[in-house]
Structure formats: structure tokens, C-alpha cells
């Protein structure tokens, strides 16, 4: 019996999975909405403390990575395997850069004594406690997704090396791309909600 690969089915399954990811973050967005409604002034003040330059840089980095990902898929579809591989490495580099910048941001905040349950944070108004609590949870969960996405892309790279993902059979890379765009998309919402709210 020959197995015919169901491309549409594979993509459909990926889209359904993306829905679950959106709803996973959706719970946190719901909490954000509720607490923003309750403490608008505190959210304004706390938002001022985040480093907009670093946040904006990260946004650019992540959008660039999505662009490289899309180029890589096109390259593979058109049979330019080597170029596709290089573009994937570019995507991974951007993902790494995002995480490094995130690391510096977090460690600066933690260095100033602002982290969940810290005495410094608890001395502040309730709204700021909520803001930074959500900041760490949401960017943390997003960061976890960046790491996972990076893992998936690395795996796609290995599959290309092994000749299992090819210009004729590229659905795995396409799905990895879909996942990566979702990770990007979540950040595009997180950025204004935390950095530009002030």
C-alpha cells in the first residue's frame, strides 16, 4: 500500500494546533484585559519603566526572522536548497538574538529587585504588581515558545540535511514556518501591551 501524503490535511492539523496556542495565550490576555481595566494608572506608570528601545529592537529582530523564514520556504519550494538552509540559519540567529536581548532585559529588571514576589515589587501599588507579574508570565511563556520554535526549525534544518524535507516534500518546513509566524504574532501583541501602554 502506497502512502500518499495529505498536504492539506497536514496544514489543517497545524492550523488547528495554532488555534490551541492562541487560546493558551488567550487566557493570559484575558487576565491582562481585566487588570488593565482595574488599574489603568498603575499600568501606565509601570509601562514607563520598560525599555522601549530594547523592546522595539526585539520586535524588529523577530519580524526579520519571520521574513527570513518565509524566504527560506520559498527558496526550498523553488529548489534552491542551499539558500533555503542559509536562510534557516538566519532565522535561528534572529531567534537567538531575541533571547539574548530578552535575557539582558530580564536580568536588568531582576537586578533592580523587580521580579514576582520580591519585597521591592510588593511595596509598590497593586496594579504594578499585576503588571510585572503578567510581564514575566507572558514574556516568559512567549520566550519558551521562541525556544520551542527554534528547536522545531533546527529539526527542520536537520531534515533538509538528511534529504527528508525536499523541494518536493516541504510540508514540515511550511508548518514550522506557520508556527514561527505565530510566535512572532504573539510578540507583536505583547510589545504594545507592555512597552507602549504608557
Amino acid at each position: 500500500m502506497t502512502v500518499v501524503k495529505d498536504y492539506t490535511g497536514a496544514k489543517l492539523g497545524m492550523w488547528l494546533f495554532l488555534f490551541t496556542e492562541i487560546l493558551l495565550f488567550g487566557g493570559l490576555f484575558l487576565l491582562y484585559a481585566a487588570y488593565l481595566h482595574r488599574y489603568p494608572a498603575d499600568f501606565h506608570l509601570a509601562g514607563k519603566e520598560l525599555n522601549v528601545v530594547l523592546g522595539a529592537t526585539n520586535t524588529v529582530v523577530l519580524i526579520s526572522s519571520s521574513w527570513l523564514m518565509a524566504l527560506s520556504i520559498s527558496a526550498l519550494q523553488q529548489g534552491r536548497v542551499e539558500q533555503s538552509k542559509k536562510l534557516l540559519l538566519g532565522t535561528l540567529a534572529c531567534a537567538g538574538m531575541f533571547l539574548v536581548i530578552k535575557y539582558f532585559e530580564w536580568s536588568a529588571k531582576i537586578h533592580h529587585g523587580i521580579y514576582p514576589d520580591s519585597p521591592e515589587l510588593l511595596a509598590r501599588p497593586a496594579g504594578e504588581v499585576m503588571f510585572f507579574g503578567l510581564y514575566y508570565l507572558m514574556t516568559g511563556l512567549h520566550g519558551l515558545h521562541v525556544i520551542l520554535g527554534g528547536g522545531v526549525i533546527t529539526y527542520a534544518y536537520v531534515l533538509i540535511l538528511k534529504g527528508r524535507v525536499t523541494p518536493q516534500d516541504f510540508v514540515f518546513l511550511e508548518n514550522a514556518g506557520l508556527y514561527w509566524h505565530l510566535v512572532d504574532l504573539v510578540w507583536i501583541y505583547l510589545f504594545p501591551l507592555f512597552y507602549l501602554i504608557a
Binding site: T8, T20, E21, L23, L24, G27, V129, L134
Partner: protein, 543 residues
Amino acid sequence: MASDHSAVSFFETQPGTRGGITSWIFSTDHKRIGIMYLWGIMGFFIVGMLLGFLIRMELIAPGRDIMDQQTYNVMFTLHGVIMIFLVVIPSIPAAFGNIFLPIQIGAEDVSFPRLNNFSWWLYVAGASLALVSLFTGNGPPDTGWTFYVPFSSNVTTTNVDVAVMAVFILGFSSILTGLNFVTTLHRLRAPGMTWTRMPLFCWSLYATGWIQILATPVLGITVLLIFAERMLGVGLFDPAKGGDPILYQHLFWIYSHPAVYIMILPAMGVISDVLPVFARRDIFGYKMIAFSSVMIAFAGSLVWAHHMFTSGMSDTAVLVFSFLTFVVAIPSAIKIFNWVSTLYKGSIYTDPPLWFALAFIFLFSIGGLTGLILGSAGTDIHVHDTYFVVGHFHYVIFGGLGFGLFSAMHYWFPKIFGRMYNMRTAKIACVIIFTGFNILYFPMLIMGLQGMPRRYYDYLPQYTFGHQVSTVGSWILVAGLLLMFWNLLQGSLRGRKCSGNPWGGASLEWQIPSPPPHHNFVTDPVVDRGPYDFRGVERDDCR
């Protein structure tokens, strides 16, 4: 077994392969995965049943009887967690859905067979982690299955961390099963298998799949937040830090109310499949039953806050959620009326699957009607958090899903094992279970109206009679269940051999040998008739 290569039963080792345990636990065959789920679910059902039995024993008289308060809290928490997350939610979809959904639509397997195997592994991992939470840390969780904050976050010292991670993993397993089924139904229907020629069981799994995909992630984030609260003390639900515990309840019920439809919809699908086969006529209102499944999935996602009428929500919110709750009753009632109409003027065979199906209709109707009392905000204030809720819930879930599951077990048994259980014993077991069930749960409805609070270890003497009747009912129920399981086990080992179609079913699973071969279909099926078109379909004999 038949010598024909293609006819080797899926229980037997496939010719040319090594067989053994790895051919099961790493199997991507939907039938083997379904059977493994079935055994797991049955095992945990027995555990959950024994825990329930012990709870009833403790409540036989006021004061301490067989356990202390803490043990009692642990018992009802475990009973809830095991029954909900390990038995009820996977039950029909993961076991019978896996075995029969691909066959019913004429497919060789689900869309993502390896993912299906991974779902089963996640189920095993989640179940193991749940067991680990019993024996490590500061003792098993005692929060109740709802894990309400602040008790679960910064009060209890019991092993909630591990338990919520187990729930997270089990949720992931459930999501992947739903995702697999939805994709399968969209992509792998055989030629001629149009959406309105699918058995209604498939329709119910389609609706269930969507709820699993869209609601379960919210549970995922909710339990992750409990974990974060316990580990980091973020304070999102802690009023002392500016958080709001009510938001936890919202998040929890945004999943957990739709989850009751994950539980009941597949059972409704089973009933919709069973009734026409035994009434020997087409189902009444096929399209409305299919549509009402999707309607329940949609409307059921918008009613969660009816669990929170007494939490201090605004009156507007209470009114809206109460109204929406009544809206969900409509598609459920559509199904009930259509089922009854299906029986009308049928030439009915009274075999065990039908007995369980009829018991389902009766018990689920009681469950549904008591649900309206809870859904109406005024009366809910009176019965909130009383035994009325416990009674209602068990009528809906045990009377509904439980009897649907038993009906499915008796209906598809000869297909899975190629043998038949003792019909007479099955009917006796059904009557005993039905009787014990009502003696166990009906007094709960009365005690609830009289004000007996749920989850209490001790109670006032005036409730003694009700509790005693209820406990006696639990003995009868357990006896009936044990008889039923024994009968099925006997049947699977020594029952009379049956050929392919003992009930005279018209859907595709009855057109292939029993037990199904490794490859479902020798030639790809082409469908040119509906699933309940019994013209020319005869019942095969069992020897």
C-alpha cells in the same frame, strides 16, 4: 484465524512483524491505541468507583466512620480528578472514537497516526504523574477537582504542583486527539461518504473535537498559572497582592463547562447510533441531531459563569449567563425528542445496548431538568454547593456519559472481540445498575433541596436517613457494575463466536470482519447509502 493475510485480526501479530509488547505501545494502529485507552480507562474507572464507594461508606452515619477529615478531602479530590481527567474526558472519544471513527468513515487510520500514539503516551505520562502526586510531597491534593484558589495556591501544602502538571499533560493529550479527529473527518472520508452520510457518532466526535481544540488550552494556562502561583508567588489571584480569585474561577470554567460537553456529546453520538439499529428504522431528524451537536459545542462555550452565580458577579452577568444556559437546553431537548421519535413505530429488538441506551435517555432527562433548576439564577442561590449539584452532576455525567459508555461497550463488543457476552446477564446487570444508580443519587437531590452542603465530612442528624439510603444504593450500584464487567470479561474470553454483523447495523464498521483486520478495508469502500438505511441488512447469528 483465517489464512487470508488481510483478514488477520488486529489483536494478532501482523504477519512479517515481531509482535510483542512494543507492537502495542508503539503501535500507530488506531484500533490498538483505542484498545489500550479502553483498558486504561476501565482500570481507572474501577479505582474511581472504589474511591466513591469509600466516600459513601464514610457518609453512612454522622461523625467519623472509617476515615478522618483530611483523608476524606483527599478521597473526594482523587475521585473527582481520576473520574474527570482519566476516565470521563478520554472515555468514549479516545477508546471507541479511536477504534471506530476511521472505520465508520471508510478510512484506513486517523490523519496523524504517530500523533495518535503520542497522545496515548501523554495519557500514560499524565496518569503516572497523577499517581506520583499521591505518594510524594506532602500527601495527595485535597483541594477538590476544581483546584480553586486561594486554597490551591497559597493555603494547602499538599502535592498540588504535581497534580496540576498531570492535568496539563492530560489536557494536551485530549487536544491532540481532538485535533486528529477533526482533521480526519475533514480529509479522510471515503468516496461517497458525504457529511450527511456519516454516522451521527462521527458528528458528535466532530463537535467534541472542536471543543477539545478550543477549550482545553484555557485549562492548560489555568493550571500553569496555579503552578506559577505556587512556585513564584506572582499573586495574580491573591487579593493581598492586588489579584482577584474570581478571575481564576472564570478561567477554570471557560474550560470546564465546555468540558462537560466533551464528556456528554460522544455519549449522545453513541445513543444516536444505537437506537436506529435496534429500532430497525432510520433515525428521526438526522440533520437536526447533527446540527444540535455543533450547536451544543458552540452555545456550551458561552455559559461558563453559571457555575459562579453566588461569586459576587454583577446581576447583568448573572442574567446573561442564566439566559444562555437555557439556550443550551434547546439542542439537548432536540436530541431527546428525536431519539424518542426514532423508536416510534420501529420494530424494536430489546438487546442489552438498547437497554443501556433507554436508561441513558431517562437518566439524562432527569439530569437535564435538574440542570435547569441550577441554571436559573433564583433557584441556584438556594441549591448552590449542595448535594443537589452532586446529584445533578452524577445524573448527567454518570447517567449520561456512563450509560452511553456502557451502551457503546455492549454495542461494539462483538465487533471488537468477535464474540458475544451473555445477553441475559447483561440485562440483569443493567437493571441492577439502573436501580442502584437511582437509589444512590436521587436522595442527593432531595438532601440538596433540604440544604445538605456538598463536600462536607460530617452532617446534621436530620440527613442521616438520606445518606443511608444513598450509601445502600452505592452497594447495589457497585454490585451491578462488577457483574457487568465480569460478564464482559467472560464474554471476551469464552463468549459465543459472532460473525461480522450480529445487530444488523448498516454503518461501515459492520461490513468488515470481527475483530477488524489490521487493514480495515480490503478494497477501498465506496458509500452510496446513509448510515441508518437498513434495507436488505440482515442480522448475523452468533454461535
